[in-house]
């Protein structure tokens, strides 16, 4: 999720938006807004109207497609699927 080009980050909203978009790590965002624990960071993120980072729909579909065969195999192993 990280590694995309960054724009200049100045305000708390800049850091939280960049984190929401997956442009910076949680550590960078926490340092940028001046908190050192995850609970305070999450409160700041949600309180300021941002969300936890999410992948794109394509990424989510790819991850589901990757994990489905593993899940199916597990269910077969325990006899839940024929």
């Amino acid at each position: 999720m990280t590694g995309q080009p960054k724009r200049s980050l100045i305000t708390t909203a800049d850091f939280l938006r960049a984190y929401e978009r997956g442009e910076i790590s949680r550590f960078e965002a926490m340092r940028g807004i001046g908190v050192d624990d995850y609970r305070a960071f999450t409160a700041a993120l949600l309180g300021s109207g941002f969300h936890l980072p999410r992948g794109s729909e394509e990424e989510t579909a790819r991850e589901v497609a990757d994990v489905l065969p593993l899940l199916r195999r597990q269910l077969e192993d325990v006899g839940e699927l024929p």
Partner: protein
């Protein structure tokens, strides 16, 4: 038009204690405060260190600082005038009876209604606060809300102060404990205000 709204006296008192009101002055826009905030800044005890500083600060900035009247401010003023009519030896004993309970908080709520209903949606408004109760008050969707901690971090990121931590440490050494509480909620509607663009970085 960009406007800076300061609904509680906290950010101003904290910065005044460490001689850094210049960090507020750098906003190149009108500043709105309530009459209750003005009273809190000017009417401390006679030996309060802040009052003369604010007298100069408010006086030097002319109409750049606009004081918005609230009904709680008017009530406070009336009570003070009534108190002043009492013989001096009775004033201290009667002072509590003339206090308006929660006047600060109630005046902020009234002010938030004013901002929400009176300021034009095309105005870009930044509400700067220290009192955590302010964050739950609705100033309207066209308003950007920022805690004093988040302002300090932004100023640090602009390279204008060495560190927000250091600034708040200095403030704490004066006996105040402003929350180090990141909060920066942008306006949901209207023109996004370029508050950083309106901040003098020279």
């Amino acid at each position: 038009m960009i406007r800076l709204v300061i609904p509680d006296s906290g950010p101003l008192i904290s910065l005044a204690r460490v001689g850094r009101l210049d960090l507020i002055d750098r906003f190149r826009c009108p500043i709105l405060i309530t009459d209750v905030v003005e009273m809190e800044l000017l009417d401390g005890p006679p030996d309060a260190p802040d009052a003369p500083v604010f007298k100069d600060w408010l006086g030097d900035r002319g109409n750049r600082i606009q004081v918005v009247e609230t009904s709680y401010g008017q009530l406070l003023r009336q009570n003070r005038e009534l108190l002043a009519l009492l013989p001096e030896e009775q004033r201290n004993a009667q002072r509590r009876r003339f206090k308006v309970k929660n006047a600060g908080e109630l005046s902020v709520r009234e002010f938030s209604d004013e901002v929400r209903n009176r300021l034009a949606p095309q105005d870009s408004v930044l509400v700067l606060f220290e009192d955590q109760r302010v964050r739950t008050m609705s100033f309207g969707d066209h308003v950007h809300m920022m805690s004093s901690w988040s302002l300090a971090k932004a100023i640090e990121n602009l390279g204008l102060i060495p560190s927000a931590e250091e600034l708040f440490d200095q403030i704490e050494r004066t006996g105040r404990t402003p929350p180090r509480d990141p909060f920066d909620r942008e306006a949901k509607s209207g023109e996004p205000g370029d508050f950083i663009g309106a901040y003098d970085r020279s």
